[in-house]
Amino acid sequence: MPEELLVVEDLKKHFPITRGIIFQKQVASVKAVDGVSFTVNRGETLGVVGESGCGKSTMARCIMRLLDPTGGKVIFDGRDITSISQAEMRPIRREMMMIFQDPYASLNPRKRVGFIIGEALEVNKMGSGSEIKRRVQELLDIVGLNPEHYNRFPHEFSGGQRQRIGVARALAVNPKLIVCDEPVSALDVSVQAQVLNLLKDLQDEFNLTYVFIAHDLNVVRHISNRVMVMYLGSVSESAGRDDLYNEPKHPYTGALLSAVPVPDPELGRQRKRIVLEGDVPSPINPPSACRFHPRCPRFHEGVCDVIDPPVREFGQEHTAACHYPLEGWPLTEEQMRRRSGEPVAS
């Protein structure tokens, strides 16, 4: 069995923008995902980090074929699922499940919890009625809920409990891959800890593979083996967890790490924050060449806005797409601005 469970090559998802009086013509497109490549090995957790508009949720939906990619390849468990039909996709859906962000919106309020968790089992004909019921109760127990609550409705549960129901639902069909799209962002801190611990325990017990999408760097660090940073539809940096957090190479990663507030006042006072200017730009009109160049402290006119940044390797599967990767960490904004020498040739 190959080690790679999911291989994504140069994935693209463009949404057309049309104009026209009678006949709609495409004049531009929103390049939500524009050339993303990565690999996820079995049993591993890949953390995907980025801010709004970076395309991480769109990418997740493309992997799951909830959206059809505009380009590139998605290879799941050795099989190319990029353009297969929905009918062919159906048996594969058992093997990749998703947990969503909003525990209040992702559960059908009119259905009982037992139905919600067991629906996938029924659709895939994985057992008789009573077998499914038993399995659902088992799952409720696994995620730390009372199996007796099988017949309750979602509104009778708290946010954290609803998220556990979402986890149980994803787990029901014994998937190989679970894509978690910001599963703890809407939860309180103490509840967040419960769900994160649960996810980790389940991964150990059932040998699950996770793609974990979040905007909170602390959370991603806690749960991931490898981390990928996305900015405006492309990957700016990708590395093993410790490498990314201890030795980031891309200025955006540096800015992100620096921006995260630390619950340690002394540390907070000591470090000099890097504050980026401007807003996260819109994917409709992304900046030329390096997407990050308008906000980058290391911007070099004539290079960063003209030539596409090369993807450099830094050993141990650590890559970053930058002309002037960082030469150390931690750095202050002052230090970040000082580039040394010529841009690194690709």
Partner: protein, 341 residues
């Protein structure tokens, strides 16, 4: 005299299901020019506390007792007119979601102007000039031109800046910020916190920062109040709170945070969930979830008492000092693994 002193504030809402005791005996104070962080999870009453101080609750279904002394004047007994004079003028408030907090059909110049004209007897031209000045101060480029734009033409971060400008336009003594950065991206959050810090120096306002994010409050606050289930459980200057927390809930909060500079296999998990405020537990409200609970906790409610040898640090827990010291050392050890950020 403290700028704002809140004493035993209680806010009860009459609902169809009964009386929700959203704030049930909260006391704290804030000095001129300082920053107070009010921290707690959803439903703990932190927002309602500040809405009550501002008199923004629905009068018909709300009962409020206690005192909120702003420069010596009890806001809870002030007339409607007096409160309207103070709002947006001496005390300003900004809210969480910048996307919905501005009226979509009015130009932001008009909305800023409204804030000024409600409290100052100036001409429209003067109001416009002041609005431009504030927009510049909060870092919005092309300020003069942008006055004629509508909210939907600004990004989330920009809108929050506009909200801040609108709040500071009359030089308030106190700015209450209710989760101002929760809905923003991390890098935008850093910009806004940076901005608020800078503006505090420039304008001299005191800030009450309501948030659930302990990281934010560590960066920006001088003193912190921790709330749980409509009550204050701990209160201390910021360094003290993070170095020597004295309440099991605070330990739980700090332990449950994944850190950038520490490695833990499992995060500290506070079991269960916050109690209903219709029918809070007897005794200490945290007792059903507390790993240190003993008999007294279930029948008696701990008052907010100073920690021995530090009168600025208050906590509401019956646990003895020795155990607390032990817990603190464990906590510090856990979070000090790994180098500086």
């Amino acid at each position: 005299m403290a700028l704002l002193e809140v004493r035993d504030l209680k806010t009860h809402f009459r609902t169809d299901d009964g009386i929700v005791k959203a704030v049930d005996g909260v006391s704290f104070s804030i000095e001129k020019g300082k920053t107070l962080g009010i921290v707690g999870e959803s439903g703990c009453g932190k927002s309602v506390t500040c809405l009550t101080i501002m008199g923004l609750n629905n009068a018909k279904s709300t009962t409020t007792t206690g005192e909120a002394l702003f420069k010596g004047e009890n806001l809870l007994e002030a007339s409607g007119k007096r409160l309207r004079d103070i709002r947006g003028n001496d005390i300003a408030m900004i809210f969480q979601d910048p996307m919905t907090s501005l009226n979509p059909v009015h130009k932001i110049g008009d909305q800023l102007g409204e804030a000024i004209l409600l409290h100052r007897d100036v001409t429209r031209r003067q109001a416009r000039a002041r609005s431009t000045e504030l927009l510049k101060a909060v870092g919005i480029p092309h300020a003069e031109r942008r006055l004629d734009d509508f909210p939907h033409q600004f990004s989330g971060g920009m809108r929050q800046r506009v909200m801040i400008a609108m709040a500071l336009v009359n030089d308030p003594d106190l700015l209450i910020a209710d989760e101002p950065t929760t809905a923003l991206d991390v890098t935008t959050q850093a910009q806004i916190l940076n901005l608020m810090d800078r503006l505090q120096e420039e304008f001299g306002s005191a800030i009450i920062m309501i948030t659930h994010d302990l990281g934010v409050v560590a960066e920006i606050a001088d003193d912190i109040v921790v709330m749980y289930a409509a009550k204050v459980v701990e209160q201390a200057p910021v360094d003290d709170l993070f170095k020597r927390p004295h309440h099991p809930y605070t330990w739980g909060l700090l332990g449950s945070l994944p850190r950038l500079n520490a490695d833990v296999e499992r995060l500290v998990q506070i079991p269960g969930s916050p109690p209903s405020l219709l029918n809070p537990p007897r005794g200490c409200r945290f007792n059903p979830r507390c790993s240190y609970v003993f008999e007294r906790c279930k029948s008696e409610e701990p008052g907010l008492e100073p920690v021995p040898d530090d009168h600025e640090h208050l906590q509401a827990c019956f646990l003895d000092e020795a155990t607390k010291e032990l817990e603190n050392r464990k906590l510090q050890a856990g979070s000090l693994a790994g180098g500086p950020m």
